[in-house]
Symmetry: C2
Subunit: 351 residues, 2 copies
């Protein structure tokens, strides 16, 4: 505490990211990073963008990257907003669409950055309780008092909500914005981006940190009606005109244009996920039917906290949230086949 701090600082409840430990032989399954390297085209583009031109500002409108993203979704440049990771896009979205003093809805178990934003931007939250199996009942989001936000697949539960359910939420909230945070959607059935042209109250947010294997580059984006995109641009240009640097712009554009590589590594991760789930069920774990690049699991006979510690002692880092009702669960990122074999092998010695 310090006399110069504003109320916002005094009352802030900052987000706590997963541990970033640098240690030889550490198996890092705690922050949902991609186990495969980014597209070689992205690395090449970064190398070409580096050099003397770094003395110049990036283009503030980012048109070229926005075009590349739009092409992936049969949308137009005007439907795309780009920011410094999807977290920055989320922050701007709270500022742009969730009025101070209003009440928004999000799932009772969800991405732990949402309450941080709600607190920072003075928004009340009406948490929607999940069903006993952690699924979302779309009806609980109908006729909300204000904006709506949820991840799909949800984090950390890994559960996917079908587009039909999302459409019902959109139709039953014509005067509310509905933000679908699709950080993990490339490991799932289908993106809600296909609904953008039908629903002017839908904003879809994605990231290059997971399926495009570029967590280190900090690029995320939002898709929506041009009026929603304009709102985000107005917030960005009132905060920081150039949040994405020249190298990130170049790498992101190349990555978003290399769908062959992207599909290949995504498919591999999905296969490894299914293998891992099968093995864990054999070991007696309850594993939620994941559509993400991580699984959410508990064992009826082993405490979550203890398992987390036992794995950590063996140089295997997973994520454990010490909050109810998920304190018995572990969130485990899907690595390569070899990494998950090491993980399962060690798990067998514990169980």
């Amino acid at each position: 505490m310090n006399k110069f701090w504003t109320k916002a600082v005094r009352e802030a409840k900052p987000y706590i990211p997963g541990e970033q430990i640098n240690q030889p032989n550490l198996l890092k399954l705690n922050t949902n990073e991609n186990p495969y390297p980014p597209s070689p085209n992205a690395i090449k583009a970064i190398s070409e963008a580096s050099g003397d031109s770094l003395r110049l500002y990036p283009t503030p409108t980012m048109d070229s990257l926005r075009d590349a993203i739009a092409n992936n979704f049969d949308l137009k440049l005007e439907n795309v907003f780009v920011g410094n990771g999807s977290d920055e896009v989320l922050a701007f979205s709270f500022m742009a669409f969730f009025e101070r003093g209003s009440t928004i809805k999000y799932p009772g178990i969800t991405y732990s950055f949402y309450p941080v934003y709600a607190n920072l931007f003075n928004v009340s939250v009406d948490e929607v309780s999940l069903e006993n199996d952690f699924t979302i009942n779309p009806e609980k989001f109908f006729n909300a008092p204000g904006g709506i936000i949820f991840p799909n697949p949800n984090a950390p539960t890994s559960l996917y909500l079908k587009l039909e359910a999302i459409e019902l939420i959109l139709q039953n909230n014509p005067h509310n914005i509905v933000i679908v945070d699709e950080a993990y959607v490339d490991f799932a059935e289908k993106s809600a981006a296909s609904l953008i042209n039908q629903y002017d109250n839908l904003l879809v947010i994605q990231t290059l940190s997971k399926s495009r294997a570029l967590a280190g580059l900090r690029v995320g984006f939002a898709l929506g009606h041009p009026d929603l995109i304009e709102a985000l641009i107005r917030m960005k240009d009132s905060f920081n005109s150039y949040p994405v640097d020249r190298l990130a712009l170049a790498g992101a554009e190349a990555a978003m244009s290399d769908n062959q590589y992207f599909k290949e590594i995504t498919k591999r991760i999905i296969n490894t996920r299914e293998w891992t789930i099968k093995e864990m069920i054999e070991l007696g774990f309850d594993v939620l039917p994941s559509q993400a690049n991580f699984i959410f699991t508990k064992h009826p006979k082993h405490r979550g906290e203890k398992l987390y510690q036992q794995l950590k002692a063996a140089n295997i880092l997973v994520r454990h949230f010490n909050t109810e009702p998920i304190s018995e669960y572990l969130r485990i990122t899907i690595g390569t086949d070899a990494e998950m074999k090491r993980f399962i092998t060690h798990l067998k010695t514990i169980i």
Copy 2:
């Protein structure tokens, strides 16, 4: 306008950055970029940081870069905050230190992003009128009703306020935060960073975009008492945990560690600035005594707007602000010797 926009979006008055035109043979003297490339060490570090590890998040605490910055100012890691360009650092500073509804002071002519932030974060402004020669009278900042912010050298006037005057402002505002925005200070006499250990109400903000020739990399930083730095970290971690990507971290650290190169290009720019000022005075221009990498100038017989247009027609881009009382002035970035010779040669054909 759109029914989903918050008041913040509806009332936003976004910052308008200098034109970013891509055109062969354009002489770009409008956004105060460095005419020289970044340190070769920075390019090398970026190249080494690029590759497979981009799949991983950057370190959220950025200790290594903060250490490199601290070393430049005989400060400690705890005195350093790093953000995505000094604009992001400014935005977090407004959130961290300027209470909503409070009244802050800044100069009547100043960096045009300040009113954007004041509007966004609901802060009232008591603008301090400059003297007739555009200098700042420090007494006008004494006993302010709230926070204080000013660039030093001031932008776009290019005028430097001596540290003695800044100390008087600090001493006469023991209960107010004083933010000195030193984007251009490396082209001036001395940084106020040397006062950090004496004044707990001082925050100094710098950028790598100007003197370190890395506008394309988006790195800025703040220096201050550890309590002030903690406030900024709390805001960052409530907004976006990783605003600086792996490549920017690596490049910035190398640039901040290569002072020989930095001193060499800075000295060159200062020499070119002095030559340019001399030539312009010979052409009848009034030139303010610049301590920045740009000059602020008008001609008694030529209108600012017209000169800007005439230069633009000749593929020379400078910055013109169409607001009183500076509408007759041009802000001209200092380029290389060859560039400024081309500029002066063309100016002679106009005058």
